[in-house]
């Protein structure tokens, strides 16, 4: 171990760059990050809190449209995440445990939401569920209104956030391999017992990780929802949509106050991610330390 460290240090000395180059590269990186990310984020909070905490809170909660937007987001995002969990676990299991025709196509399709513009997703839903769409009229005849209603919001959000959980789970499941499941099978476990006692527990970290990313993306989704919501205040409007509306109406303090909620969620996501990373690293490190020779 010591030896390895020594070699690594010698290597890093050998490829030491001149000081001016290092300095200018670091300054450039800091400036880009600062102006692109740091300043706008700080500015959001600055503007939101400029009237003091009391004004900040009343800006958010006094307007019923703002409250509705928060409730709609709390309604839509968990449902989208739940659907993604179902889809994520089942398709990760399918892709990592079975070889079947169309496997590569499925893998490519899962990545589609990363590549496609959310507006196109929204338009697709309008074409499908609209009054002259493929499914719209027949659903309307049984009294189900999808478009301009919460189902459309959930569908759009689910579509856009589809890859997050699957993409976290597939590498984890592939690295674990089927041996533990086979071992459980040989010990007499049924399919359900194997899933709940072996497969699911070994995915905990990946699942948490995927869920956090998925939640953050679901809360912040704008493009697809913008198309399918009908943009009616108090009806099917999520936080990002309300933020945009307030911006259009020049209600700057309220706008920034609501935007700060989204920013806090984003920062919390990053923090949770960081904590989980260090947790899993720590667990690994203690495992190594506790291991004793046979």
């Amino acid at each position: 171990m010591n030896n390895g460290h020594g070699i690594r240090m010698a290597a890093s000395l050998a490829r030491e760059d001149p000081a001016w180059l290092k300095f200018s590269l670091i300054t450039m990186a800091l400036m880009i990050v600062g102006f692109l990310i740091g300043v706008p984020v700080i500015h959001v909070f600055w503007q939101a809190l400029s009237g003091g905490i009391k004004a900040y809170l009343s800006n958010i909660f006094e307007d019923p449209a703002n409250r509705d937007a928060i409730f709609t987001t709390l309604y839509v995002a968990p449902r989208a995440v739940f659907l993604n969990l179902l889809f994520g676990i089942s398709s990760a299991w399918l892709v990592s445990r079975f070889k079947f025709p169309g496997r590569t196509i499925l893998l490519t399709l899962i990545d589609m939401p990363f590549a496609i513009s959310p507006v196109v997703v929204g338009l697709g839903l309008v074409l499908l569920y609209g009054s002259s769409g493929l499914l719209g009229p027949s659903l309307a005849s049984v009294g189900i209104q999808v478009l301009f209603n919460s189902p459309a919001l959930v569908l759009a959000t689910t579509f856009v956030t589809l890859p997050f959980i699957v993409r976290e789970l597939i590498p984890v499941m592939e690295s674990i391999g089927p041996d533990e499941e086979l071992a459980a099978l040989s010990l007499g476990a049924s399919g359900l017992q194997i899933f709940f006692r072996i497969t699911l527990p070994s995915l905990t970290l990946g699942l948490l990780y995927g869920t956090i990313l998925c939640t953050a993306r679901a809360v912040g989704e704008f493009g697809a929802i913008y198309v399918v919501s009908g943009r009616i205040a108090g009806l099917g409007q999520t936080i990002p949509l309300r933020v945009e509306q307030l911006f259009q109406q020049y209600q700057t303090p309220a706008d920034f106050a609501l935007a700060s909620i989204l920013t806090v969620i984003a920062l919390a996501t990053l923090l949770a991610r960081k904590i989980m990373q260090s947790l899993s690293n720590q667990r690994h490190a203690t495992d190594q330390a506790k291991r004793i020779p046979a």
Binding site: I176, L182, A183, S186, L187, G188, A189, R197, D287, R291
Partner: protein, 350 residues
């Protein structure tokens, strides 16, 4: 519980992993399936366990046909090559798993796990997780887990494959003693002939999906059925030669014996300890050789020699004290003479 494999065949695509294999394992016997990689030994084990289904043929436990019984109802203990311990469960929970899914009462589970932890000598480590154990300890936990719900047979896939030499040796002896205690019909797969010889009652040598020979270790070593078995079970030298008046005459060296050379006409197979080194060519049928190098190997010394033209080589094992009587140095011109040898293509041994 005895195991019978009756004319089992299994193919993966165009690859024939098992070709009409029949095997009889008596109750309480510890059998090793030995062969090079790709010989079908692991496939045979998995077919017996029910982790693979045979294309043709039948598998019987005692008199009960289990060919179509799924693995979870066969009551087998299976130890996987890389142990496949449940990484999110403690040692205790790993061992208890089979009993929990079979709904044993918890007091009985507690008692059985404690008993098994004592058996595998891991007292005090029952709350550890698999990642906190060494290779040998994991192996023993995997074995305890397989034994926990009292299986009818125990099947082990390369049980010593991932262990370093010293742990391997210990575990080998431990497994043998364990088997003598519990007398469970057991089959294990290995590619290492030392593993097979040290542990098993009977060895099954496999090649290309077929069984080449079945027998107790000593018999296999002394009376190999063919050149493949002879070559696979320890070092062997190959020479051109013939049999005259009950004696072996070596006529020439054979270049590096490869698999394709088996059963070629007029090949004599001689184990390193069955060759003698002489100073002069006093025996008719001896071959001249030049000493290449000597290296000590436990109680004996291995002498590597090459033919005078320097192309082919052979290996002789001599006792250390023999070296005092007849000193050998690198570069010496000597003669090698076979005390014993085997010619397989003529259908008899000497």
């Amino acid at each position: 519980m005895s195991i019978t494999v009756n004319k089992v065949s299994k193919s993966f695509g165009t690859f024939r992993a098992l070709d009409n294999v029949s095997l009889e394992v008596p109750s309480g016997c510890l059998v090793a399936l030995l062969g090079p990689s790709g010989s079908g030994k692991t496939t045979l084990l998995r077919v017996i366990a029910g982790l693979e289904t045979a294309d043709e043929g039948a598998v019987l436990y005692k008199d009960e046909e289990v060919t179509d019984t799924p693995v979870q109802h066969r009551q087998v203990g299976f130890v996987f090559q890389h142990y496949a311990l449940f990484r999110h469960m403690s040692v205790f929970e790993n061992i208890a798993f089979g009993m929990r899914v079979r709904k044993w009462p918890s007091s009985k589970i507690q008692q059985r796990v404690t008993e098994l932890i004592h058996l595998i000598r891991l007292e005090g480590l029952d709350q550890r997780y698999p990642s906190q154990l060494s290779g040998g300890q994991r192996q023993r936990v995997a074995l305890a887990r397989a034994l926990a719900s009292e299986p009818r047979v125990l099947l082990l896939d390369e049980p010593f494959g991932a262990l370093d030499a010293k742990v391997r040796l210990e575990l080998r002896q431990w497994l043998r003693r364990l088997h003598d205690q519990i007398h469970l019909t057991s089959i294990f797969v290995t590619h290492d002939q030392e593993d097979a010889f040290a542990v098993s009652d009977k060895v099954v040598v496999m090649r290309q999906g077929k069984i080449e020979q079945i027998g107790p270790p000593v018999e296999l070593f002394e009376n190999p059925a063919n050149a493949f078995v002879m070559d696979f079970l320890g070092h062997v030298n190959a020479f051109k030669g013939q049999l005259k008046d009950g004696r072996i005459f070596l006529t020439d060296y054979v270049m590096h014996s490869s698999q394709g050379k088996f059963n070629e006409q007029g090949i004599v197979y001689v184990r390193p300890h069955e060759l003698e080194i002489k100073g002069v060519n006093d025996h008719f049928g001896s071959l001249p050789a030049i000493v290449d190098h000597l290296h000590p190997s436990g109680s004996c010394i291995r002498v590597h020699l090459r033919s005078p033209c320097g192309q082919a080589s052979c290996c002789v094992e001599i006792n250390t004290d023999q070296l005092g009587v007849f000193p050998i140095n690198v570069g010496d011109k000597v003669c090698i003479h076979p005390k014993r040898g085997r010619i397989f293509d003529q259908d008899y041994n000497i």
